[in-house]
Point group: C2
Chain length 225, copies 2
């Protein structure tokens, strides 16, 4: 029986927990070590450095996404399901998309996902590089859509940490946003319908709308109508 030792796997899983709870800038090696019941620096034997750890974590989470079979449901249903799977995963791990802008993510997890995505669009009738482009179109849209959510999560976390006045500061931020918006006619027109959770409530509907519009557009590209 080997000594109760750290493994890269356990480190990555714990890092993901910490990232989910504390965000990208909340993750630090000391608390990671504490959570693992080890010295902070013990991690460095298993993982090159923090950037590397984030990359490992940022690949691992792609494994959470279920891969629907396009044979049984049709490609469009499968594509929708996969887009939703990605969206929900990215919202569950709000550090992922920002991290993808700083570290090139690649690895078995993302590759598994990409490969299946290609399968779906090839099944739809896209050939060669067109399948890549179709996949990328949906993909980039989904990732972009989660940016706002990530920022909101990060903001509320920061406010909560700053002190008890999270509510007040959030209201303050919203007020300033609104005030600026008033200077622009179309934004002002919307301001009258605005509620403070505009950033929190709208995205879901907007995401679904955009996704279906994009799939419409892709469908129109297919040769067989």
């Amino acid at each position: 029986m080997p000594r109760d030792t750290l493994t890269t796997d356990r480190i990555v899983r714990t890092a993901i927990e910490l990232l989910d709870a504390e965000g990208l800038e909340g993750l630090n090696m000391r608390s990671l070590g504490e959570r693992l019941g080890a010295a902070a620096t013990a991690v460095y034997w298993h993982v090159k450095n923090k950037d590397n750890l984030v990359m490992l974590a940022g690949d691992e989470v792609w494994n959470e996404i279920e891969l629907p079979d396009p044979e049984t449901t049709g490609w469009r249903t499968a594509a929708t399901a996969m887009a939703h799977g990605l969206y929900e995963m990215a919202v569950r791990h709000p550090w992922l998309v920002p991290a993808m802008g700083v570290h090139l993510m690649y690895g078995p997890g993302k590759s598994r996902h990409d490969d299946h995505g290609l399968a779906i669009y090839e099944k739809a009738g896209f050939v060669g590089a067109d399948a890549d482009r179709a996949l990328a179109t949906v993909f980039m849209f989904v990732l972009g859509s989660t940016l706002g959510e990530s920022a909101t999560v990060a903001l509320t976390r920061r406010l909560r940490k700053d002190g008890g006045d999270a509510e007040e500061q959030l209201r303050d931020t919203m007020a300033k946003t609104g005030e600026i918006a008033m200077r622009f006619p179309r934004l002002r027109a919307r301001g009258e319908t605005f509620t403070e959770n505009d950033y929190g409530a709208a995205p879901d509907k907007s995401f679904e709308y955009g996704l279906q519009v994009i799939l419409d557009g892709l469908e129109a590209q297919l040769p067989g109508r």
Copy 2:
């Protein structure tokens, strides 16, 4: 004649320069101070803290985007131009999109851009919340599309800073990526066409493809055909 004093404006412009040159994690208050010819902490009189500075910078850059007039060119041309403007701006400032995932960006610059975007889609025939959704669809796609570029820039900068072996490490990274890809049938099939600058060359074409597909999809939503 007032003393040659710092202004928020000059601070923000210098911060943008530094962000462009060194990236999000390369920006630090000491070198910013040095560049400004002032003590690092002098900045704190004008700006609350670093996060705040990044938010100011992250709003300012939106002013670089030209706003095409949909009356003279037609909405679709205008929408395409605006999407390109945003894409190029985001590539010029590769720290922007990652930062948008961590800080809620808002301010006069982004508002100006958003307002004009709404004008274009309203001109196209989208009414009320549909204009917001149409704009958001294109928008999120563009932002998502720049993520990969941002990451590549950040990676090469990190490699260059680590030492002279940037080339070697980049090749190493690519090799590992390829090796993993080999385990998945569709990725492997592509691997044979792969060149090392796959990440650098493909995006442009892919972006244009996706953008036009999305505009097709949006056009199909319009009542008057």
